[in-house]
Symmetry: C2
Subunit: 339 residues, 2 copies
Amino acid sequence: MASDKYSRAGVNIDKGNQAVEKIRDMVRRLGVNEIGKFSGFFPLQQKLEHPVLVSSADGVGTKLKVAFMADRHDTVGQDLVNHCVDDILVYGADPLFFLDYIATGKVEPDTISSIVSGMLEGCVENGFVLLGGETAEMPGFYKENEYDVAGFIVGLVDRGRILDGSNIRKGDLLIGLPSTGLHTNGYSLARHILFEQEGLSVNSPIPGAGATVGDELLKVHRSYLKPVRPLIEEGYVKGMAHITGGGFIDNIPRILPDTLGARVEQVWPIPPVFRFLVEKGEVSLEERFRVFNMGIGMVLIIAPDMLSRVESSLKASAEPFYLIGQVLPHEGGARIRIQ
Amino acid sequence: MASDKYSRAGVNIDKGNQAVEKIRDMVRRLGVNEIGKFSGFFPLQQKLEHPVLVSSADGVGTKLKVAFMADRHDTVGQDLVNHCVDDILVYGADPLFFLDYIATGKVEPDTISSIVSGMLEGCVENGFVLLGGETAEMPGFYKENEYDVAGFIVGLVDRGRILDGSNIRKGDLLIGLPSTGLHTNGYSLARHILFEQEGLSVNSPIPGAGATVGDELLKVHRSYLKPVRPLIEEGYVKGMAHITGGGFIDNIPRILPDTLGARVEQVWPIPPVFRFLVEKGEVSLEERFRVFNMGIGMVLIIAPDMLSRVESSLKASAEPFYLIGQVLPHEGGARIRIQ
């Protein structure tokens, strides 16, 4: 009998291997890279003059708690993949591959394979591969039926085509692309307002949203790769900000030269879930734009004379968009002024 | 007042920013890549004919519990980096960069910077960069003063020089390189035996080991890059197995062609910590080689006529080594036979 003592101490290698087998089956069906060895391999076939690898690590945060409450585990993997894609897309990088880390107190092969199926779906939708990952069974770290996940992405961009925002000038325009919902940010506050303060459950409807709390909060963090890639290829964009933790307030300055700020006008329709959260939680104007994306998940910064070309391209991609603000000189005070 | 409500719900963005500042200061001092943006950049300067990226994700597992017990957080980062290095080294890949994920219930800037200082030390020792990372504050996921960490590495190898083990033949030799201790595997069983069954604390001495339980269990998972890289460059090695979760039993077969197995003889000195664990825990022969590394952290497979050259190179690196076994035909039964 192999591993009997180890099983008793809380780790079941055979169950881990079962999960690996399930994942390997899915991976084979999808034709992506085989896993289960020490590492994954990615042949770098693109011939760029000055290739630069762009890499990012992310988690899903406390959105996972909602997945636990709803006992639904096939969306968080997509959240993770898309979040990673968006984090390198802002610099103009094309994703090459993704790896995951899943940690849980006790490996339940069905849960693990459900999580991984979401990741695979995300990888396939974005057109790249799940190169590998680690599933760690850590007794005593996580509550029963709970887990944490992290994702790592590697993309590629030619050095001369990195969107670093350095040529952003005052007067440039901010274009907002809609989010699907909270994406992966503000969940601690949202859960506090919805579940603790308002006493709702995942099955309660959100007024005006046409969806339950669970469905609304588990909406998948979207990838902006498809509508944004053509804009990057055409050179229409000077810089981008992925509106994640820190919201508009912290993320837009990441791409602006130090001497510049921006004015944002709330001209887009604020989705009902945010209206409900802001009202019930009495969330101040600054805080709501620091904690939530408020309906805009990606901000593009473009020169004014590119506007009509950007509009045409986004329309061709059937991507809704809003002209939400303008770059201004930063002369003290808040760098991002919300109006 | 920014984020007051968000703080109350358990997430403190300012404290997160403090941790990022501390890490950024360390990063600057060490001259490695700046962090804090959406992603990290790595210019790919190597000119290989057929470049292949090799990537791996890892955690530290329940070794973290020992770090919590000893309130010592500067070693787990090195464990993570070195584990990742070894996982790609087995295929002949040179590490390029590393990213981390740290998740905790409440960000304590000192703990986070201690963890990251270990990662930075590992990166510097192995001669590559910490390209970025994610620190996630997840209230309600982790106990107070607890956290989880994951690491992600990307390395590079020329396609024609990948060590895939395909030319391993019967009669080839297994060379074992010593581990520093448990590395990152077998901690659930070790903790069960030492703390629960034997009632020891992190400050108790381990008989014969000349170290306390805490010091012994926190010994850093070593990197084999320095002694092994010259062997790879010279083409002396056919395949390698990193002895991690699954031990000799699961890891050596990963690199062997399907028709082959191996015989391993316990000719090396088994370190006192393993002798103690095996005796007190009454761990069977097969289980101990499936759960623990038993003092050997890396196995090289070489042709017999390379032995003297491998010996000279390892001696030049001041690396101890043991001839621990031989590749045999696999004709049913256990693929790895321990004697």
